[in-house]
Symmetry: C2
Subunit: 554 residues, 2 copies
């Protein structure tokens, strides 16, 4: 119970933050030596380098005679040659099933405390995780540090806190005392939050911890054993989380198989075997819609998905067009558009964008936007670090193939040189003009650095199209610019019906791409971009069942 005493204040503070919904960060996001220690960065890089080319031997989930690993660095375009112990689906499931009956009987407060302890230990490895993330996902250093380290840990804490609150929302037991006239009928009643069963968390290649730890920790805090099935291309960052948790579990005398890493390879994926097994009740998934829809259709499972979407930017009227363009250009370029929140469809009225200094025409906007992106990506002190590298070769092909015949090209995609990694796989944004009439050309997610400038009749049509795309194809973000309060309310109301969050009039150092833990619900769950949300109450409640027991009072 030492851990409970140690961590309950953090859990309670996190619950408070969930309800306050203003800024809260348990794990500092700045990679400052003052916070993390003078040598933390250097040591993290060294540790990462020492892992390359070796067996990852930290896991406490038994011996395996098969060691596999397909990870490649998008910065070096070379294999990392890190190998992980492989287990059959049956081994993983059978171990999880055994661990289930131990874990479900651990009290909620101890479960929560063990999980927070694991995050505190991961904190000591944020820099190592940052380099692991760079060299699997292609993210720039700063994003790799923040997203995979502190922001992921905060999202995990949020899931723990929300789960703990729900688990303790109703009394464990009461005396039910009903007046019957001449006597009182008294029953001793008791309720248990019964976990659903084995949980499988399926990772993605671009955000291997940020997108996986919410489901992992939500399932664990509610008593379910977890099998993490990472993307074969991005294993190491989440492997470190799992290893640290397994160590805490072992120290507490518990079975480390409560959370296992189930690694597979591109040539022999085990995801479907796991997902379809009857023992698996919970599935968390981030990735393409085809596989996400297949998972959502499985019978007898509770499935939490983040799939693809068509995000929009709606331009109506602005105070300062240059600041707006600067903001949008950065949003699009950040990690080369490989974020689920990156804007893709830019809706601009044919009549232009209203400003205090007169109307900015469609063409003027397009030219300024293209120029601004070029300025950013060609700035050797900013471009390569903002863009990062391209995780998947197919993304480059998509960018190369997309433009032809679709409309006027305002900016060609090209490559930039990375001063540290000469072999980095890069692609700068492609900016293309399409007409609102050609719906086919903008009715799908074009993952990567592709922006479509869509010429509409007016803002009403812009909003109608953004809403329609979100309802039909999903959307995770929408950036809207208007100085008119009526139009603002119209946009909010219409996009709310498409369950799409809207960021209004962002300029400066805040971007539509960023969804903050404890405040922004990431993915709403209300449109085809995904059926779940980090972290709303539904995200944890569906992982257990309230079951009641009663007996006449003795």
């Amino acid at each position: 119970m030492e851990l409970v005493v140690k961590h309950m204040p953090t859990i309670n503070r996190a619950i408070q933050a969930i309800h306050e919904r203003t800024f809260f960060a348990q794990y500092p996001e700045h990679p400052s030596p003052k916070i993390y220690g003078e040598d933390a960065d250097k040591n993290g890089r060294k540790t990462f380098q020492s892992l390359v080319g070796k067996k990852f031997e930290e896991l406490l989930q038994g011996n395996s005679d098969q060691w596999i690993g397909d990870e490649e660095s998008p910065y070096m375009q070379e294999p990392l040659n890190i190998s992980y112990p492989a287990f059959s689906s049956e081994e993983l499931l059978s171990n999880a099933d055994t661990a289930f009956h131990q874990w479900r009987k651990v009290k909620a407060d101890l479960r929560a405390a063990i999980l927070v302890e694991s995050l505190d230990r991961v904190k000591n490895r944020f820099f190592e995780i940052a380099y692991a993330t760079m060299h699997t996902t292609g993210q720039g250093y700063m994003m790799a540090f923040q997203a995979s380290g502190p922001h992921a840990a905060d999202r995990a804490l949020e899931a723990i806190a929300m789960g703990y609150e729900e688990l303790t929302r109703f009394p464990e037991s009461v005396v039910w005392d009903k007046p019957m006239g001449k006597y009182n009928l008294k029953l001793a009643k008791e309720w248990r939050a019964v976990p659903k069963g084995i949980s499988v968390v399926i990772g993605c290649s671009t955000f291997p911890t940020w997108n996986s730890v919410p489901g992992m920790y939500a399932s664990l805090v509610t008593g379910n054993p977890v099998i993490i099935k990472p993307h074969p291309g991005a294993i190491l960052p989440i492997a470190i989380f799992v290893a640290e948790l397994q160590k805490v579990l072992k120290e507490e005398g518990l079975n480390p198989a409560i959370c296992q890493l189930g690694v597979d390879s591109f040539s022999n994926m085990i995801t479907k075997e796991l997902a379809e097994d009857d023992r698996v009740k919970l599935i968390d998934y981030t990735g393409n819609s085809t596989f996400g829809n297949y998972l959502e259709g499985l019978k007898g499972k509770f499935v939490f998905t983040e799939k693809t979407g068509v995000n929009s930017a709606i331009l109506d009227s602005v105070v300062d067009i240059d600041k707006v363009i600067g903001n949008l250009a950065f949003s699009l370029s950040l990690y080369s558009g490989q974020m689920c929140t990156a804007p893709q469809n830019f809706y601009i009225p044919a009549s232009g964008i209203k400003t205090p200094d007169g109307v900015v025409s469609f063409d003027e906007f397009a030219q300024k936007f293209a120029d601004n992106i070029q300025g950013l990506v060609n700035n050797p002190k900013a471009g390569p670090f903002v863009l990062g590298a391209i995780q998947n070769k197919n993304t480059c092909s998509r960018v190369d193939d997309f433009g032809a015949g679709k409309g006027k090209v305002w900016l060609e995609s090209t490559q930039v040189e990375n001063p540290m990694f000469e072999n980095a796989r890069t692609a700068t944004p492609l900016v293309l003009e399409v007409d609102a009439k050609n719906e086919d050309s903008f009715s799908q997610e074009l993952f990567g650095p592709i922006a479509l400038l869509i010429k509409t009749e007016n803002t009403t049509q812009s909003v109608a199209l953004a809403k329609e795309m979100a309802i039909k194809h999903g959307a995770i973000s929408c950036g809207a610019y208007t100085t008119d309060s009526e139009i603002k309310e119209m946009i909010a109301d219409e996009m709310s019906l498409a369950a799409t969050p809207v960021s209004f009039n962002l300029t400066g150092g805040i971007y539509v791409n960023q969804h903050a833990g404890f405040s922004d619900f990431h993915v709403t769950g209300g449109n085809p971009a995904g059926n779940a949300s980090f972290t709303n109450p539904e995200y944890v409640i569906k992982r257990f069942t309230w079951v009641g027991f009663r007996e006449p009072l003795k």
Copy 2:
């Protein structure tokens, strides 16, 4: 806002009751003249009688040139000849769609207050609803009063309160204030609970209000317009609820189509047309598993079901065998086993049931059980009123056809005379012995007065079978009798994994059939008996989506 001031204390008290989970009743369950007035019963009966044979003209949902109605009294086996205005699915959906955009903009507190006001008005019609329920469902008078009146209204209030709590769980807006080192980044953030869309509530023939009002009020409080599609055989009780709500809506200047009654006939059911329409996002359903599974499989809907189950009684050891048998005989006979919570499979060890006075053998138990039932049903002052009448002829056929060749018949089903209704359709319990080896014979719900006494090897097998039935075929209740605390915990733990609530050692005036509002979660949602629960947080949360908006602070 007068209504808000009037009803917010009740809503807050109901929220408190949900969290305390001990006895709470807003609507008194005793049909006492002291509570409801000297003439309430007499007037209620008269009003009901005055409705028979006429058009039901209270609804405020426009004119119809088609009036239909198939209700028949199980007590008289004659049509009631009450007719209701019929509307096409398209008319209902189009009206609901219009009403949606008004209702979703009404503030949560006013929505909740309007709904509570409707319940307070329904309170004045509890007796009329009781007679309407008797003469559509066949319930006895006392159950008809309690279940369709006060208990239903309490369940409705519970759904309103739970919904209101969730809607107000997070702040409407905050200033998000993030320290950035040299400055603070400030965003004005706002969240809206966006209702999903049109809700269709599909009623059943046995509990036309109790099973429908939770979904109806849960959808309404969260801002969704509702179409009630009652069972063609049991319309009047819920029609009165709808009519009273429509009057309040109209008085508040709102569109009464926010809640419509969508009546159909046995020969022309509109349920599928409604359920499959794209505009319908929420479906609540009580009824058979075949149709329930079809609804659960519809894409793009949030479906809340209560289907069928195989409820169990597990007999291990008791203090007083006669009291136990009296309790179980009553549970089985109540409304002739036509309750979703009625016990069906009685698991008894071949070695008998342990008591302080020695072991009661299987045969001894069976004989005492049969005798006790016979004593109850043949008692002219109790039997007819406890049994009520059989809603559906098919239930009688099932009882008639089931026994043959399955095992030893300990008690034949027969009919009883009802002193008030000579033509009442009745059936007393059939009690049959089957061996635990013949799983096929007890692996399905046998809706109606059928009890199977299953001879098991021991209590461990009894529990294993009860658990297996619940996992495979669903279960809504389990009654267990044991004086051994280890066995009790084993039963609780095993049945919890089958998401089945357990009532231990009930004797006297409390029965396994009864699930109290504000305390017992009715149906857990964790086994095939249904995917929803009255009223856990999930039941309301899935009816809306949290969507956030943000903008730099001015």
